[in-house]
């Protein structure tokens, strides 16, 4: 495998992690308002999936959308500024964490309504089909979202119309404070694909290459006009549902075990060094670059102006 490609995957994951941990710090320091949903622990899903598509393909995202957007190429300075609610943010401070978006890199928007992003992303896949532009869409959503009616309607429509959509369920075992077993009876969400005569695949969401492979195959199918695939990536969020979550619904031990043994970045780093014989110094220099990037992003955000209230009603209409 191409080392540059592998290091790219690592870089994306490390960028996400560094960004998220910095966001947590900045939130706790009082520099970020609102509700913040972090993606630490789930980096391999976004990184692996987005590596399988092209810059002008689209992604649909959720309330937990930082990782999806960074993996798709979102600029961390604009994103940090958005979370700081600054005019230089990618949404000019109007969106925040729940709606973080950069349409210039193919994001269709993070949607704060659970499962609402799925039906919209599906529409982008329809659009690609109608425009015969061979684009595909990756539609990210959580385990909890698959209990929403919208998930069902979108899956049925996508399968019926053979839309070029890859549905990626980031099954992190919880929907807010509710563990999987308390919100559905099945164990593998991929099973739900059967209800639409769609392929359903379970993949280890902590293994970036496994995600990449599964998504690559699904993307190929989609581009060939064979229709959508449901990929369930088993993963875990290291932090609470949002920052400040008391996390009464899971044990510290469970979290620690995942952090220790199933951290996608640790796992991939080890693999890079051992299996792919990557030099430690190559990794170190990526780390340094990213740490600097995020530090700069914070500076950029902190120095940016807040929006001007006299422009409040801009962009309600065209």
């Amino acid at each position: 495998m191409d080392k540059k490609f592998l290091l790219g995957l690592y870089e994306t994951m490390f960028r996400i992690r560094t960004f998220e941990e910095e966001v947590k710090k900045q939130f706790e320091d009082g520099n970020i308002p609102g509700f913040i949903h972090l993606g630490s622990g789930q980096e391999a899903v976004s990184a692996g999936a987005c590596a399988a598509i092209k810059p002008d393909d689209n992604i649909g995202s959720t309330h937990r959308g930082h990782a999806n957007l960074i993996a798709k190429g979102g600029r961390t300075d604009r994103m940090m500024a958005e979370l700081f609610a600054r005019e230089t943010g990618s949404c000019k401070g109007r969106g925040g964490c729940l709606h973080i978006t950069d349409m210039s890199v193919g994001s269709l928007g993070a949607n704060g309504i659970v499962a609402a992003g799925i039906i919209v992303a599906n529409g982008a896949a329809l659009s690609a089909k109608l425009q015969h532009n061979n684009k595909v869409v990756l539609t990210f959503f959580g385990d909890g979202a698959t209990n929403q009616g919208k998930f069902h309607e979108a899956m049925n429509l996508a399968s019926l119309w053979a839309l070029p959509n890859v549905f990626i369920c980031e099954n992190n075992l919880y929907g807010e404070a509710t563990p999987l077993a308390k919100h559905m009876k099945i164990k593998d969400i991929a099973v739900r694909a059967k209800a639409y005569d769609m392929p359903g695949v379970v993949v280890d969401g902590q293994d970036v290459l496994a995600v990449f492979d599964a998504v690559t195959e699904a993307v190929k199918r989609a581009r060939e006009g064979k229709g959508p695939t449901l990929i369930e990536a088993k993963t875990y969020r290291f932090h609470g549902h949002h920052i400040g979550d008391p996390e009464t619904y899971r044990t510290k031990e469970e979290v620690e075990e995942w952090m220790e043994k199933r951290d996608p970045i640790k796992l991939f780093k080890a693999k890079l060094l051992k299996e792919f014989k990557v030099n430690a110094s190559d990794i170190d220099s990526i780390d340094k670059k990213i740490l600097k990037e995020i530090e700069d992003a914070v500076k950029f955000a902190a120095q940016s102006p807040t929006p001007d209230p006299s422009n409040l009603t801009e962009n309600v209409y065209a």
């Binding site: 990618s90 978006t101 349409m103 928007g109 039906i119 529409g123 659009s127 919208k150």
Partner: protein, 325 residues
């Protein structure tokens, strides 16, 4: 002068769709049973434009609206049909929380050029879940434009404007107007949003009416004219934007205001218009404002009850006389 032809409301909608689809390859249709449509509006279009551009969907209102939003975000101009306006409730989340807000929430990155067409209104004994007129609800949702045409001419002209708009538009088609006739221009024309149309000139009272109530108001005005009462009828054409200038301009002349709508009176279109007048033009009122509308009641199946729900030409005329008397 442009050539005119007499057509029904249904055909006015249909003509607008056909002309816009021919004009712009980005325009496409999706909705339930478009192939054999409940009110026949889209019959034959699949033969003309193919099943790629006229897309018959499953019964999945959320997926329909969501698909339209996603397509609009990525360069298309979808025209979605919701089979009855009552079923808008089923897609309320994507309409209110995504469609209406996408441009704003993204700081102007997104544009959502789409139309949702939907038949509204009572008169067919279709009962409480197939007869509603929910237009007013959407006035409370910033980010959505709302068209409420009352004639074939307005339907065609406003629908073309809606399809070309870069904002999302909710387009209400009153079922009872589908089969009413009226003159339209042959070929292309558009009508502006936010510009009310004075459907009848008069000096004694201003009536603001929408959709099927315009005709009832006109019939009442005919009756009242026999008694020497000159009614001015203002049709706002769109509820958002709402042309208060024309309404208040008319009121300045007549000094009296009545609003007529088919949706429930409480919290309706008339409420907003009356409030705007009470804020901006109070001094011109020589009499209390009168709001007529649907009763605050679910819509009954029984034809005699259904009739009792709504203003009629007689009750309108009587209410006008009472105001002037």
């Amino acid at each position: 002068m442009a050539e005119m032809k007499l057509i029904t409301g249904k055909d006015a909608i249909r003509d607008a769709l056909i002309e816009e689809m021919k004009r712009d390859p980005k325009v496409f249709l999706l909705g339930e049973d478009l192939e054999q449509a409940t009110f026949g509006v889209t019959d034959g279009l699949i033969e003309e434009f193919g099943s790629e551009r006229v897309r018959n969907t499953p019964i999945s209102e959320n997926a329909i609206v969501g698909a339209a939003i996603g397509a609009a975000l990525t360069g298309m101009r979808p025209v979605a049909e919701i089979m009855f306006a009552d079923f808008l409730m089923d897609a309320m989340d994507p309409i209110v929380n995504t469609m209406a807000k996408a441009r704003f929430m993204t700081g102007g990155q997104a544009k959502v050029p789409m139309v949702i067409r939907t038949p509204s209104g009572a008169g067919l004994s279709a009962g409480a879940q197939h007869s509603q007129s929910p237009e007013a609800l959407f006035m409370h949702i910033p980010g959505i434009k709302i068209a409420v045409p009352s004639t074939p001419y307005d339907m065609k002209g406003l629908l073309k404007t809606a399809i070309r708009s870069d904002d999302p538009v909710l387009f209400f088609e009153h079922k009872m107007l589908y089969y009413e006739g009226g003159d339209v221009h042959v070929g292309d024309y558009t009508l502006p949003f936010g510009k009310a149309d004075i459907k009848r000139k008069g000096k004694d009272i201003t009536i603001v009416a929408v959709l099927a109530m315009v005709k009832k108001a006109l019939l009442a005005a005919d009756m009242l004219a026999a008694d020497g009462i000159e009614v001015e009828i203002v049709d706002p054409m769109t509820l958002n934007p709402l042309d208060m200038e024309t309404i208040i301009g008319s009121l300045k002349k007549t000094k009296r205001l009545m609003t007529i709508e088919e949706g429930a009176r409480t919290g309706g279109i008339g409420a907003e218009i009356a409030a705007r007048v009470a804020e901006e033009a109070l001094d011109y009122l020589d009499a209390p404002i009168k709001r007529l509308g649907g009763r605050d009641c679910p819509i009954p199946f029984s034809p005699v009850l259904e009739e009792a729900m709504y203003p009629t030409e007689d009750s309108i005329a009587a209410a006008v006389k009472q105001m002037l008397g």
